[in-house]
Structure formats: C-alpha cells, structure tokens
C-alpha cells in the first residue's frame, strides 16, 4: 500500500509519500497497536518523515482507534511534535537557565535574523529548522547548540555562523 498526502506550503505544493507498510510496522509491530504508546508511535513516525503528516496520523487514528481530534490535541500539545515539514538540518539552541545566563538568547536572535525565520520555524527552502529547547542538561558547557543531534559545547555566534556558511555552500 502506498498513497500520497498533500502538504501545501506557501511556495509550492509538495507531495509526501506515505509508506503504509512502514507505518504498520511502527504501529503494530514495534508498539503492538497499544493506544498507550501513541506518543512514542508519533515520535517514531516523526523520525521517518521529520514531521507528522496528516495522512499518517489519519491512518494511526484508524489503526489504534483513537479519534483524530485527540491525536491532533496530543500533536499540538507536546513541543517536540511538528505538523509542518522540518528542514533537512535542525539547529537546536538550548535556552535553559545556564545557557540563558551565558547569552543563548542572543544566539537565537542572531540566527533568526540571519536566516529570516522565527524560532520553531523552517526556512522556505526546507534547509534549516531553528529550534529552542529548555535545557538539554549540559549546563556545564553552556551555551549549548545541537546541530543535527551533535552537541556543540560553549557555542558562540561564530560557531553558528560556521554552520550557516556550510549550509549556504550546500
């Protein structure tokens, strides 16, 4: 089985292929179709698509028999879920207390300005998503930036500019 779901963005209309066999594997095999593990199923789905496609959630709703509106409620409640496609690269800047005291707020503003996106948003070319997180627990090496799951301790605006330069070169 396979189907498409339309994810309309401002510039163009993108079609996302949904692999229902893969969804079945996540929902039924990995988590036994158990409603209580819905949050983790959604995390697994997000790992596949880098966001939560509506069609995938509709399918999830049918398989585990949870109303779609309840799934939407969960998807909009937890900060790690995204209903919009995320960028190819994800830059997360920690804004926990220790990082905040060492200027992570300025780093967020800098990247937001340079890339022209608000924190939590993705660039139009889907290259970068800028996120903030309330503490990754690495306060000793504050401020911390996490680029594509790799931690960068004692990050500076210069460190971040390096990433952005590399992205621009891609």
């Amino acid at each position: 089985m396979s189907g498409t779901a339309c994810v309309c963005q401002e510039i163009e209309c993108r079609e996302i292929e949904i692999d229902y066999n893969q969804l079945d594997k996540i929902i039924r095999d990995d988590y036994g179709g158990n409603k209580e593990t819905m949050i983790m199923m959604m995390q697994a789905i997000q790992r596949v698509y880098r966001f939560l496609p509506e069609a995938a959630l509709k399918y999830l709703s049918q398989v585990i028999d949870v109303p779609l509106t309840k799934i939407y409620e969960v998807a909009t409640f937890y900060a790690s879920f995204s209903l919009e496609p995320k960028g190819k690269h994800i830059l997360t800047i920690c804004t926990g207390t220790a990082c905040h005291l060492r200027g992570s707020g300025g780093m967020v503003r800098h990247i937001a300005e340079r890339m022209g996106i608000e924190p939590g948003k993705t660039t139009q070319d889907l290259k970068l998503t800028l996120e903030t997180v309330n503490c990754v627990g690495a306060c000793a090496v504050a401020p911390v930036a996490v680029m594509d799951e790799k931690y960068y301790p004692k990050a500076t605006i210069a460190t971040l500019n390096d990433f952005m330069d590399r992205l621009d070169a891609e």
């Binding site: 995390q43 309330n134 503490c135 306060c139 931690y151």
Partner: protein, 633 residues
Amino acid sequence: MIEATQTALTPSEVTKIMSTEALAEYRQKLQAQYDPNAPMIYVCCGTGCQAAGSVDVVEKFREILVGSAWDGKVVPMIKPTGCHGFCSRGPLVIIEPQDIFYQRVTVNDVQEIVEKTVLNNELIKRLQYKSAGAKESITKASEIPYYAKQTRLVLKNIGRVNPTEIGDSIIRNGYAALAKALTQMTPQQVIDEVSSSKLRGRGGAGFPTGLKWESCAKQEGLRYVICNADEGDPGAFMDRSLLEGDPHSVLEGMAICAYAVGSHRGYMYVRAEYPLAVKTLTTAIRQAEALGLLGKNIMGTGFDFEVTISTGAGAFICGESSALMASLEGKVGRPRPKYIRSVEKGFRDSPSNLNNVETYANIPSIIANGGNWYKSYGTERSSGTKVFALTGNVFNIGLVEVPMGISLMEIVFGIGGGVPNKRALKGVQTGGPSGGCIPIPHKIPDINVGYGKLAEVGSIMGSGGMIVMDEDTCMVEVARYFVNFLVEESCGQCTPCREGLTRMKEILDRITQGDGREGDIELLEEIGKFTNNFSLCGLGTSAANPVLSTIRYFREEYEAHIRDKKCPAGVCKKLFHYEIDPDICTGCGLCKSKCPVKAISGEKKKVHVIDQSLCMKCMECYKNCKFRSVKIM
C-alpha cells in the same frame, strides 16, 4: 514500549541467576577477574564530556591499547563511565590505581598519557587540575576540593562503573540490597527501614518516601511503580547523570519499592531531551533481565518485576504527577483536576507509587546499610545527602552531592570555587522555575540547605538546581526569564496560570524594556499571590515564586527599572550605557580591539571613549577591561 536492542553482556556466557547465593558467587567470580593493581583508565562519557569529545578519546585509547605490545605487563583497561560531575573540566580521565586526574583531555593527548603516565608513572603537568589562584597542581582526584568536600552516597558508583556493563555494578554490590530485601525482609520491614531513614522525595515536594510507600501498599488491586525521570527544570541534570552513569541503582531501587508496595509493573518516564539516558537505560534493563535480576521470578524468589521505558515528547508539565500519568497513558499531559492522590488512583486509575530518579537511587544503600546509617547524614528534618546541579557564575560547574544542612556559602565557595572574573556573588537561585532567589551573602549572610530552611527564605529545594548569580545578573531579567519559561510550559487549562502568568510576563517585559509604570510591582505581587492560591496544579501554585522572591529581596532593582529607567546590573539594554572612567582607564587599547562595531576610540596610553551612537552594548569592553574602568551607567 521501547524494547531493548542487542547488547553484549559481560561476560556473555552468563545464564540466569537463580538464587541470591548465586548472585554472591557471580560477584566473587567477577571480582576475581580484576587485578586491583592493573592500570584502569576511566573516561567520563556523560553528556557534557561527550559534547567536549570524550567518545573520540575513548576510541583513541582503545586503538592504542589494542595496538601496543605489552611484554608481559598487565594490560590496562579502559572504562567509559557516566558523568563524573565535574563537567566544566571535561573530558575527564582518571587513572587508577594512582587516582591521577586529568582534565580537558583531547584525542591528541592520549598517546602521551599511555606512554608517560600509564606505562611510566610520569605525570603530565598541563593536563592536571589547579585550583583558582593556586600555584601547585593537584595530582589525585580525591584531593581536588571539588570532590574532597562532597559526600557521595548516591553518586558513589558514577565515574567508576561502565553503565553499559552490568558486571561493573554487580562487582560494586549492585542488586545485593534487592537480594537482601527479597530473602531476609518482609515488605513491611522494607517500608519501615525506608521510613526510619527519613528519606524525603528528591523530586521537589519532599514528601516522606516511607509514608508514600506505606499508603500505596495499603491499597487494593494492581499497583504500579513509576519513576519520574522527566527532569525538566532548566539548569538541573542530576537525574540525567544518574540514568546515564548508574542506571542499575535506580532500577534496583524501583524493584525494592515494587516488592515493598506489592507491585509487579514498573514504568520509567524519561524526557525526550535525554536520548543518551534512554539508550543507557534500555541496555541496563535488557542486561538485568537476561541475568534474572529483573523480570519474572527474580533470583529464583518467585517475585516478578518488569520495567518499561516510556518517553515524553517535550512538556515540562509532565513532571507533575497526574500529568505524567496521563502522558504515560498516551494522552495530553494536563494535570487532572482531582483531589485524589496518585497512590490511591494514578496510572490507569490504579494505585501508583511515583518517586523520582534520585529517590529510587538512594534506596539500595538504605536497605543495605539501614535507615539509621542514612539518617546519620544530614539534619533531623532533612536527612541524608542531596545532589545539586551547580551552575551559573561559578568556577566549578557540575554535580555536587552534599549532606543536607550544609552551608550554602560552603557549596558556592568551598566546592564551587567561588565566582569567576572577580565578580561579587549576588545570590543563588534554587528549585528551578518554581524556586526562589536567595540573596546571599548581602541580605542573608548564609543558610543551611534543607527543606525547611529553604522554604523559610522563600525558595524551595526542588529537584536540586542551584544557579549561582553574580553582580552582573539583573534580577528583574531573571524573573522575566523564569516567567517566560512557565508561560511556554503552562498546560493552559486553568485561568490563573494561563492568564495570570501571561500578564506577569507582559508587565515584566515592559519593566525590562523601560516602560514600567508606578504600581507594577504591587500588581505583580497581587497576581503572584493569586496564581499561587488559585491555580490547579503544583506548577501554577508555585509559578510566581521567582517573581515574588526577587521582589522580596531585590525590590530596589525593580524600582530602579521603573522609576529611574536604569538597569543597575547592565543587562536590560534599553536601560543603561557603558562609560569609560577616565580616572581608571590606562589606555591599553584592549577594549578598542575587542569592540565589534568600532565604537571605542582613543590613542595608546590615553583615555578611551565610547561613541554611544554606535555602541550595541555587547558587553565585550566591560568583560575584557582588566582594570574595570568600563562602568555601567
């Protein structure tokens, strides 16, 4: 939920342990494999050190150690461990048996360490630790004041065991307390022992653990044992270190609790932001199950206890007990509006015992050594030790475990090494976003850290975040930061928290922007008291604490922002400017070279000046002036 994936057991041929005697035998067998004189290299692989490159250091050690010819010498062993706690100096390497401490080790240092230190007992000066201002470097880890002044009960294994090898834990008496409880004690005796230790919940509220277990054990029907590992307080990472560094102590504590309250199912709710902790735990559970230390018929005693890991998805509120249980059920993590405790009706509406990671990790030693032993640490009302995450403007950042009742000044100066950059201490924030700022040393000379004392000065113990703030910290900005955090993390269901916090943020925003009005302080106090009384859950009823405590101790700073439109600490950009004091300036030119916008002019050895129209208040000149001639005006 998350099933453990393939992991190698150590040693791999082990079969299930079917009696407590078999566990003791297995421990002896493992101990016999170790030569106490053999060199052992411990490399910290906690999140902090990993971020600083410790995994590469371990790999390099392995590569060199395997590739070398040892000519009959004992081959050194390399051990990647959990967080040693001294994160600001990472990556850390400790070499036993000499207890040599090396800091900030890079891949390029590894060859030298093996050749000089491991093989020839020669020290490498540049990698050694030096206290601030001291001339002599310190060789042994145990002599570094940061470690020497701590009392490590709960952190005792961290840094000494490889968290992915259960054998390491077993050698250090892992699961011995569980064996003792299962074979030599009744559930009631276990509860009595925990009660007599006077251990109080380490997650925040400080509820007596024994009492909680007792009321859970009294309930009928299926019971659950749940571990709250949703450590959401920004600036706190005690639980992360425990899970990443010594997962078996936590699991053993949960199993003992399950036996005491009569449960067979355990859940571990870990926040999604801790991927390494989830991975380590998954491995630990799989290994313990393979050895028969968890799962069905534990150690042949007939007692079953299974633990499942469940992960959060990014919501601070899920640290609240009823929200956590809703989230465990796969729902939105909103606190339940019920005046029923979770030990009566919690997860799946069944009696549930919820404790946090550090609480469970304390249990094995209490059972092994007795409640009286534990009580001998700490004070009458706050027994035992507490792990704090010491961060902020302090030399030694990391985890510190100290007996309750210790002086706060001793933590900041004795262990933390004081405030860097010759700045003065302004206060210490404890208890995370629900806590308060304690104005040591100026307004309160010092306090003894305990549940009661912290509450007295308007703060809380919380889960153990301890943020040191120096004179350059603006208390209004700090309050605004925490309120902003809580506005983002409020679940939004009840009016006082949702609307009240939003308005407090609005007011604090305008004060820090220079638009504060007369009456704003009073309005903040009014809303703050209201949200503390009228909100639905623990988050709401403590949300105003950072604001109320900063107003209580730093009211004049609020007044300066509102009346004089000045930020005395030089943080709120619209409310100050820098000036160079002509009497102090030596004309060294450092500020001029550091200024990114070329706003500073002046000839060498002559007084420099700042062009206010260009200055963007980035703080570079202020931070870098060796003579402190740059003044906040």
